[in-house]
């Protein structure tokens, strides 16, 4: 046997951790990670049940308040707090231990969210928690972290000091970050960043907000997206539920899909359409929307025998809900901003997604041949909240009888934008789509110069 010359050191340094874990995540996702912790707290306080679309949980007594300015970031909640045991054993360690109990339908899974988030935000950090002990008495502690001090010594153990603290007004967690990184300070000074953050929170937590959870950003309450399907006449969304298993953990999968809005009259990609951003596939893991309005290969578009997303398919919304006691069984990426497409439970769900997508694609194709009839039927469908969608194995869409098409001429021309806007205004609505301005001008001229024959 060869003589050992020595050991090649493989111990990590703290600097490595701070740099690496903050590199691959956006500031926005970091804030969502902190919100996830608060939401998990609220969910634990409510008894940790599966979070499908069931409406029996009222979260209206919970409030998550976020302050983001160029000087300071703060998130405080009244969601029950982190226990001292949690803080000593789990919350501040890097990564979860294999022995950690994760049977709580939470969304936190990798044991990295809070550290990564606060490191990304700034370098002077104070985590405070007040919680109710099993004996019923309240207990408060704080974990101050000054990164420059903490980085100074790499020798294990890598502890953070836990100190006594005054009680917070309600049981909950308060995380305050000062000495913000320049990236965070710049973003928090940008009204566009804050508006977009508001939009993302309203979308990704729409299931929680719908249950009454209060999330406040810089003093303004955030309202959740209403996700609705059209139902009635010849339309019914599909809704199926089944159980899958991943390495001993049960995952409940629910698929809902159908028409959320009538498709556009034209597939012309130049037409501006704000509503377009709502359509596509949504993936929800333990209540949190991790993929929204997806039109990419992640949800199957442009793979196998699916076509690429096309504007013609606008109006479709599909939702996949994965629910598991152990969050590790969910098809989540660590940033919770996408789906782990290699996950088996996700791959097995894909054919279900494909069926409903395929039906929709076929419908939008047949619709082109019988547009007037399709519009008439579509107008009779009424919106229902996704929570109220009835179970049904297949999506129901109208069967349309194609009419022999009249030969048509397509007209395509460019005019100065300013003139078009002025004409749109003169025609009655300055936000009128370009196409309609063209059609109306044609009809106007036709009526004047040709008239009834």
């Amino acid at each position: 046997m060869a003589t050992e010359l020595g050991k090649a050191g493989a111990n990590p340094t703290k600097t490595f951790f701070v740099r690496m874990i903050t590199r691959d995540i956006t500031l926005e996702d970091c804030i969502l990670d902190l919100i996830d912790n608060s939401v998990d707290g609220a969910w634990r306080s409510e008894g940790s049940r599966p979070m499908g679309l069931a409406q029996d949980t009222d979260l209206s007594r919970y409030k998550i308040e976020i302050t983001a300015t160029p000087e300071i970031f703060c998130i405080e909640d009244n969601c029950g707090g982190m226990t001292l045991d949690d803080a000593m054993e789990h919350a501040f360690s890097f990564g979860r231990k294999t022995t950690d109990d994760t049977d709580d339908y939470s969304i936190g899974v990798y044991g990295i969210g809070m550290k990564r988030a606060v490191f990304k935000l700034g370098s002077d950090i104070m985590v405070r928690s007040t919680f109710c002990e099993e004996t019923g008495s309240r207990f408060a502690f704080a974990v101050p972290i000054v990164i420059s001090d903490w980085l100074r010594d790499d020798t294990p153990p890598w502890d953070f000091d836990i100190i006594e603290d005054e009680e917070l007004p309600e049981d909950g967690v308060n995380i305050t970050v000062k000495a913000l990184t320049s990236g965070a300070a710049t973003s928090f000074g940008s009204p566009a960043f804050l508006q977009n953050l508001r939009r993302t929170i309203g979308r990704d937590y729409s299931l929680h907000l719908h249950r009454g959870l209060n999330i406040v950003l810089n003093g303004t309450q955030i309202s959740g997206w209403q996700i609705e399907m059209l139902q009635g006449a010849d339309f019914s969304p599909m809704r199926v539920e089944y159980e899958d298993e991943v390495e001993g953990d049960t995952v409940t999968v629910e698929v809902i899909g159908g028409m959320a809005a009538p498709p556009p009259d034209t597939g012309d990609p130049d037409v501006e359409d704000e509503g377009e951003k709502r359509f596509g596939w949504y993936v929800v893991c333990n209540g949190r929307i991790v993929l929204a309005a997806d039109k990419t290969t992640i949800s199957g578009w442009g793979t196998e025998d699916w076509p690429q997303w096309h504007r013609q398919y606008s109006g479709f919304i599909g939702i996949m809900l994965f629910t598991a006691a152990n969050a590790a069984a969910l098809p989540l990426t660590t940033t919770k901003r996408s789906v782990d497409t290699s996950s088996e439970v996700y791959r097995r769900a894909r054919p279900k997604m494909r069926e409903v997508t395929r039906s929709w694609i076929d419908y939008t194709n047949s619709r082109k041949q019988a547009l007037e009839e399709a519009k008439r039927i579509e107008a009779a469908a009424a919106p229902v909240a996704i929570y109220a969608v009835a179970r049904r194995v297949n999506v129901v869409l109208p069967r349309l009888v194609a009419k022999p098409p009249e030969p048509v001429a397509n007209v395509n021309y460019a005019v100065p934008l300013v003139k078009l806007k002025k004409l749109a205004k003169a025609l009655g609505r300055s936000s009128m789509p370009y196409r309609d301005v063209g059609l109306k001008s044609f009809e106007y001229t036709y009526d004047d110069l040709v008239g009834e024959e």
Binding site: G183, T186, S187, G189, S190, P191, A192, F193, Q195, N196, R198, R199, S223, E272, E274, L417, V418, K421, K425, R429, S430, S431
Partner: protein
């Protein structure tokens, strides 16, 4: 409006007051940010009113006027008031990119005032974003546009129109009521400032954008002027302090609607000012004439900036 209030329109006293407030502000910035040697970029038209003030009041030597109209260009060349005024022929969207790459111009901070006589639209937005992205450090950017609500469509579609122009900064729940009457100008001013700030953050401009000017004024149509400083990284604090002082002139709390006074009226009123208690309407009547309360209040607020025109009657 009574006809005696229209006749003086070409003199535009409110616009004049607005210019004074802006240049008062620039002077304060000059003192703190070392803006002695700067370039002025503006739309001088054939009158060059702002150019005359910039040169005389602020001592700016190098001045560039952008003129898109063919006849206007010839007339601007003829009317240029100083030897150091250059007139560039073309629209701002064409001329600005040429200025951005001019090494000699880039060596100094700019004072750039895009004083449009039409409403905020996509091309104005593109000009603004280009300036935020390209102006040299310590430049000051101002923009003026028409703020009348009717230019932005019918009431229910105005928030959507704003979203088309300004994008993400427009709140999803901006109510229709915020886009009516006076509130429309306030919304335009605030959202345009949000847009400028966000554009600077978007490209991580080292000193960001420090909001400094927000002036609404009205001679005919209500006009909106907003702007701010694009400080060098180290100068952001100083700039924010200067524009944060209590006597900073760039953010008058109410729209400027200056009364149209004769030289004699203005002179008589001015002789009563400054004073501790405001001049009342009966006191004006004692002086021998009369004014509406709001006109009297506006004059007392802005008499120091009120233009001393010699009215020439044809």
């Amino acid at each position: 409006m009574a006809s005696f209030n229209v006749i003086n329109y070409s003199l535009r006293p409110s616009k004049s007051i607005q210019r004074q407030l802006v240049f008062d502000g620039i002077r304060k910035l000059q003192a703190h940010l070392h803006l002695e040697d700067i370039v002025y970029v503006g739309f001088g038209s054939v009158w060059f009113t702002d150019f005359v003030m910039v040169h005389k009041l602020l001592g700016v030597r190098e001045m560039i006027s952008i003129e898109g109209n063919d006849v206007g260009y010839r007339r601007a060349l003829f009317n240029a008031p100083f030897a150091t005024v250059t007139v560039k022929h073309g629209f701002s969207g064409q001329v600005l990119p040429e200025l951005f790459v001019d090494a000699a111009l880039r060596a100094k901070p700019w004072l750039i005032w895009l004083d449009y006589d039409y409403e905020l639209n996509e091309s104005v937005r593109d000009d603004l974003r280009a300036v935020i992205e390209n102006a040299p450090a310590n430049s000051v950017l101002l923009v003026t546009f028409n703020g009348i609500e009717g230019k932005y469509g019918q009431a229910p579609e105005r928030s959507e129109r704003l979203r088309e122009i300004l994008g993400a900064v427009v709140p999803d729940d901006l109510p229709k009521s915020s886009c009516k009457g006076d509130r429309m100008q306030a919304a335009l001013a605030d959202l345009t400032l949000d847009f400028l700030k966000s554009s600077a953050a978007e490209i991580a401009r080292p000193g960001g954008f420090v909001s400094a000017f927000r002036i609404i004024y009205q001679d005919g149509a209500p006009m909106v002027t907003v702007g701010g400083v694009l400080p060098a990284k180290g100068a952001a604090r100083v700039a924010a302090d200067v524009v944060g002082e209590a006597d900073w002139p760039g953010r008058p709390p109410a729209p400027i609607k200056a009364p149209h006074l004769t030289m004699r009226e203005a002179a008589v009123l001015q002789a009563q000012l400054p004073r501790d208690a405001p001049l009342s309407r009966p006191q004006v009547q004692e002086l021998g004439f009369d004014l509406e309360d709001h006109e009297l209040e506006a004059f007392q607020t802005y008499y120091r900036q009120y233009p001393a025109f010699a009215q020439i009657v044809a």
